[in-house]
């Protein structure tokens, strides 16, 4: 089955879904059905898109374009390559799961607005991963911000206003810098009348970007992505946002939104600014290793389940930036896999923390305990995700982390060398076992508490939400090669652009 204009269709379906949502806005039952059906359809469509993708080609595929602001050289240009083509189905799956879970009773207030926010969010997220025009990318990048602002601010916990403002101000600060940088890139991209923001054309004219220019522009882009990821020391919005966000919001926040940062580095910053990459690389590598250790160390002393998972995300995303900036195939593929795996696994962890909270209304680890005996299904699923998150070989988390470590060991273009940073980063893997297993035993093990004795195990809807994630967790761990075959050619292409010897001369 071949569907034309499939990427545009992917952007349109959630928008179309908004219409019936508005019509049935006063009937929660119909609202849920519309939202679930729309996101399910979107998920299936994204799988068709994946099937239409030709594995092995490095370039962009399924390209569509139309003039948008021709006088400025801005186009509607979308396409996917091996790096983005897996992130799209990941997004649609996590959105579907979030909507399905929320329709099961987790959200009671203003359900129509909630679902509408998710559909708009989905447009932004899919848009970020398919945009090949910097302006379009920027619009999509900001489009993700608004619904998430509302999701945390309206359906969040007691400190939701503080947290959502913090989230928005942090992200906005970064993306406004990016906007400035985009304007600068536009100005530098060509002479009057020939300027552009389309990625393919920018790549052709990137020779015009001087070393100084790249230094500053890379910094601006880098800050935007670093805040989104988030990298230490720009991470403090994340724990607050997660703690206050509703479960579905946390799933999307951790699962998809953070990936926009890592993806932005790979898609735009590396290929467009090879000199900037080289100049900033040592800083980013050191910060990545710091994130891995620091995020893990701080996770170990968290008292709140959601904060623990949030800080663990900081550590896991450290592997993403580390893998990207060691500039070799293993590191890069590992980073992309890590993004995918973190999406599924951490999304799942937040889902399960939410499921648990829904029943016990407790999120402090000290208030929990002994759940394993009452909830065998919950324990099994949660246990698998915990193990994947701590990088157990055979599950998906290991593959990405291992490849990133391998790439780091290999990399010598950083002070002290890969043989120093590699083993240091590997220490984070020990800490992951400490904080995750310690959390698991305090929450799940021990004597059953009277208050929790009567609470039910997973409901059918929750099982439906969890099963695809478990299946992917196992499949991507046991048979990762299929995914690697999709990612690798495009990643090699990005690396060729980022390490183009023609640009090396500019570095002192």
């Amino acid at each position: 089955m071949t569907i034309d204009h499939i990427l545009t269709l992917l952007l349109a379906v959630p928008a179309i879904g908004l219409l019936p949502l508005y019509v049935f806005r006063n009937d929660p039952r119909s609202v849920k059905q519309v939202a679930v059906v729309t996101t399910l359809f979107e998920l299936l469509l994204s799988l068709v898109m994946l099937a239409q993708f030709h594995v092995g080609d490095a370039g962009f595929q399924l390209i569509e374009q139309a003039d948008w602001l021709p006088s400025l050289g801005i186009r509607y240009l979308v396409g996917v390559d091996g790096i983005s083509v897996l992130l799209v189905p990941m997004t649609t799956l996590l959105t579907f799961i979030s909507v399905l879970y929320s329709s099961g009773g987790a959200i009671k207030d203003r359900i129509a607005s909630f679902m509408a926010a998710f559909l708009i969010l989905e447009i932004g997220m899919v848009g970020v991963f398919v945009s090949l025009d910097l302006f379009l990318f920027y619009v999509m990048f900001e489009l993700m911000l608004v619904p998430m602002y509302l999701i945390i601010g309206i359906w969040g916990g007691p400190r939701r206003i503080y947290s959502t403002l913090k989230f928005v101000i942090f992200t906005l600060a970064g993306s406004l810098l990016m906007l400035v940088a985009i304007v600068a890139v536009w100005l530098a991209s060509g002479d009057e009348g020939a300027r552009t923001l389309s990625l393919p054309e920018l790549l052709a004219s990137r020779g015009r970007f001087s070393a100084d220019f790249q230094f500053w522009v890379f910094l601006a882009f880098g800050l935007a992505f670093a805040i989104k990821l988030p990298m230490v020391p720009f991470h403090t919005w994340l724990p607050d946002a997660h703690v206050e966000a509703p479960t579905a919001g946390s799933i999307i926040l951790a699962g998809v939104l953070l990936k926009a940062g890592g993806y932005g580095f790979l898609r735009f910053a590396l290929p467009l600014f090879p000199v900037g990459t080289q100049l900033w690389l040592p800083v980013i590598i050191v910060l990545s290793v710091v994130a891995i250790l620091y995020g893990a160390a701080v996770s170990t002393v968290q008292k709140d389940l959601k904060k623990l998972v949030a800080y663990s995300s900081v550590a896991h995303m450290g592997f993403v930036t580390l893998g990207i900036f060691v500039l070799n195939a293993q590191g890069g593929v590992g980073a992309v896999l890590q993004m995918l795996n973190h999406g599924f696994v951490t999304g799942a962890l937040f889902l399960f923390v939410g499921i648990q909270y829904e029943r016990t209304h407790r999120r402090l680890i000290a208030d929990l305990g002994g759940l394993a005996n009452r909830w065998p299904l919950y324990t099994t699923f949660f246990g698998i995700f915990v193990l994947a998150s701590l990088g157990l070989p055979g599950l998906n988390g290991f593959v990405g982390e291992f490849l990133v470590l391998l790439g780091t060991f290999k990399f010598s273009g950083v002070p002290l060398g890969g043989l120093f940073w590699g083993p240091v980063a590997a220490l984070g893997v020990i800490l992951a076992a400490v904080y995750l297993l310690w959390m698991f035993q305090r929450v799940m093990y021990g004597p059953v508490r009277e208050a929790y004795r009567a609470l039910p195990d997973l409901s059918p809807i929750e099982v439906v939400c969890a099963v695809p994630l478990v299946v992917l967790t196992v499949l991507l761990g046991v048979f990762p090669q299929q995914a690697i075959a999709i990612i690798e050619p495009s990643l090699q292409q990005v690396l060729r652009l980022a390490t183009d010897p023609g640009f090396q001369v500019a570095i002192k």
């Binding site: 913090k166 101000i169 942090f170 230490v232 020391p233 991470h235 403090t236 919005w237 620091y294 160390a297 701080v298 170990t300 002393v301 968290q302 070799n328 195939a329 293993q330 593929v333 590992g334 002994g370 394993a372 005996n373 065998p376 193990l387 157990l392 070989p393 055979g394 593959v399 291992f402 490849l403 470590l405 391998l406 060991f409 290999k410 043989l419 590699g422 083993p423 590997a426 220490l427 893997v429 020990i430 076992a433 400490v434 297993l437 310690w438 035993q441 799940m444 093990y445 021990g446 004597p447 059953v448 048979f479 990762p480 090669q481 690697i484 690798e488 090699q492």
Partner: protein, 633 residues
């Protein structure tokens, strides 16, 4: 049969899936039967594979599929079937099968019956992957997999705190070791461009001495975690919180030998790496005597066995270190049988006493548990290395190899440890089975275990008696040497071909050491000369050090863990107050700055006009200044 080698792990994997998916709801007791039959089938295939290897197919690779391949890195899921792995397959499947059968009786009344067999099957699967793997990465899958199952099974009774605390301790200490394994594995790839054993070992020559030393030390650090050697040994005694069949299978016979297997497998690397082997030998010897001294004074029957396991694993590393890998694997095999038997026997005693593990409350049980007593007596004899029991042949080869390899100090440590070993096993046997019952209530209710438990004991006892003679006689040239010799034969290590007279003298000394230990033990516990209580009083501080296991647990669990916790807490405080504090202060600055500036917006037109005029003036001055060259130098 070799082409079907993947059937061996496939059976336990299938049992794991069936028991895991359907056990709780539908299968109940059937889970035990399914799991046991699966492992039984694995054992049959393993015997077939072993016979074919014996028949001359000494190296076969059975490839399944490419697992991870990026750029110049490739790793696959493939099995290497050679004498070493076929022996391991045999030991793992046969011992597992017997312990599975036993567990059907031991775990009969436990409400987690299905869970137990689910995890135990997963363990066997992971262990088989570990020994079959043809590369370091796939081996690491098994390596971590057995660690996970160990975690799950130590914490099997998770409603009490001790088991799950011990479980986490085990996993984390293993992970610390795995850090070393990871470094060794990745460095191996960087140096050799491959993680496949055959590729690596054929090109040992291309590596520099420094590289090899790094790789070997890193791998050995991993081995100390998995095989409970100094400094990462202290999880193993705590692991006794798990059900006793788990202690027998995972924490005595199979998983803990993974480190020995890793070093034996990597012998070509270690042999070429100069000082690395000496490190292995010295750490092994120190661990052997260190753990043996702790075992002298323990009263929990399982703890005695646990420290004994640490000590015996030390012997195996000692053997590897003095360049006798065949002796190490030989001891691994015999130890798997007699130590599994000792644990299952202890389990039978504990089962018969309704859960009591304190030897001070036992005594005289030989009349109540005759089968357990006699089989354990054989295993104890093997542990004390009495001829002709299995332990004698393998342990004797190890200490002899130390002497012949030119390590007289290691040899002396080995002999001294043999005295201690014989003493503590005598003490444990006496306190448990002989003398007068010290707790009459327990004694009256004690009963022999059912046949499903005693038959595996008998089967293991047969192995304990015949295995040593069957594969280890005559010493240094027995079957195991002919079979494994070609694999273990690497440059830099000469197989010793000593004279018969030397062997006899060394064997005599070794036996004398065992007999001495037993005699001292009997004298103290039968005739109270000297009285154990008096000895412990006289030894005072030394005794306290031993009872408290050299205070290592205090050091690790209190001091080091506390220090880390404090450091991490400080980091969190830093995060909240400094990093986030800075962000919040920036926000506060913007807010207060904004509200102060708001005061400029007075709404009085006169004020605005004044500001406009002032601004104009400033611009004029600056512009004029620039134009007239006032500001340029």
């Amino acid at each position: 049969m070799i082409q079907n080698v993947w059937l061996i792990p496939a059976f336990p994997l299938a049992a794991f899936l069936i028991d895991g998916l359907f056990g709780r709801r539908w299968l109940h007791r059937w889970t035990g039967i399914i799991a046991s039959s699966a492992v039984g089938l694995s054992a049959i295939v393993a015997i077939g594979v072993f016979l074919e290897v014996l028949g001359g197919q000494t190296r076969t690779t059975v490839n399944l599929y490419e697992w991870i391949g990026v750029g110049d890195f490739h790793s696959r899921v493939a099995a290497l079937v050679d004498p070493l792995s076929s022996v391991m397959l045999l030991v793992v499947t046969v011992v597992s099968f017997l312990i599975f059968v036993y567990s059907n009786g031991y775990m009969e009344h436990d409400h987690g019956f299905h869970r137990f067999f689910t995890w135990l099957s997963l363990f066997v699967f992971a262990m088989l992957i570990l020994v079959m793997a043809d590369n370091y990465l796939l081996m690491f899958v098994g390596w971590e997999g057995v660690g996970l199952c160990s975690y799950l099974l130590i914490g099997f009774w998770f409603e009490r705190p001790e088991p799950y605390v011990a479980a986490k301790k085990a996993f984390v200490m293993n992970r610390i070791g795995d850090w070393g394994y990871t470094i060794g594995m990745i460095t191996t790839f960087l140096v050799f461009g491959s993680m496949q054993f055959t590729d690596v070992f054929e090109h040992v020559g291309i590596a520099t001495q420094a590289n090899l030393t790094l790789i070997c030390v890193a791998f050995f650090f991993g081995a100390t975690g998995k095989s409970a050697q100094l400094p990462l040994y202290s999880w193993l005694p705590d692991a006794m919180e798990g059900p006793t069949p788990v202690s027998a299978l995972i924490h005595a016979a199979t998983m803990v030998t993974a480190g020995v297997y890793l070093v034996a497998r990597s012998m070509p690397l270690f042999a070429a790496a100069g000082p690395s082997l000496a490190v292995v030998g010295v750490v092994g010897a120190i661990t052997a005597i260190f753990a043996a001294t702790i075992a002298l004074v323990q009263f929990d029957i399982k703890r005695v066995m646990a420290y004994s396991t640490v000590s015996q694993l030390g012997y195996m590393f000692l053997a590897l270190g003095v360049g006798a890998p065949v002796a190490a694997i030989f001891h691994l095999a015999t130890h798997a049988f007699f130590k599994a038997l000792l644990f299952l026997g202890s389990g039978s005693v504990i089962h018969g006493l309704g859960g009591e593990q304190d030897m001070r409350k036992m005594g005289g049980l030989r009349r109540k548990l005759p089968v357990t007593y006699w089989t354990m007596l054989l295993a104890g004899g093997a542990l004390a290395a009495l001829p002709p029991l299995a332990g004698f042949w393998s342990k004797d080869e190890i200490v002899a190899a130390a002497f012949l390899g030119g390590y007289p100090v290691l040899w002396a440590v080995g002999i001294l440890t043999a005295v201690l070993t014989a003493f503590y096993v005598t003490r444990a046997m006496w306190l448990t089975f002989h003398g007068e019952p010290r707790d009459h209530h327990l004694y009256d209710h004690a009963h022999e275990s059912p046949a499903v438990m005693t038959l595996p004991l008998a089967a293991l006892a047969v192995g304990t008696v015949v295995l040593g003679v069957a594969i280890g006689f005559p010493p240094e040239t027995g079957f195991i040497h002919r079979f494994l010799g070609p694999v273990a034969q690497v440059e830099g290590i000469a197989e010793h071909a000593p004279e018969a007279a030397t062997i006899l003298v060394l064997a005599a000394i070794s036996v004398a050491a065992g007999v001495l230990g037993i005699l001292v033990g009997l004298s103290m516990y039968v005739r109270h000369r000297p009285d154990p209580a008096a000895v412990s009083r006289a030894a005072g501080p030394l005794y306290r050090v031993l009872v408290n296991k050299y205070f290592i647990d205090e050091l690790y669990d209190r001091r080091i863990v506390e220090a880390f916790r404090a450091a991490f807490g400080a980091m969190w405080a830093f995060d909240v107050h400094v990093i986030d504090g800075l962000a919040n202060r920036l926000g506060w600055l913007a807010a207060t700055g904004g509200s102060s500036l708001r005061r400029a917006q007075t709404g009085i037109v006169g004020n605005y006009a004044l500001t406009i005029v002032a601004g104009l003036l400033v611009i004029l001055v600056v512009y004029g200044g620039y134009a007239s060259g006032l500001f340029t130098r």
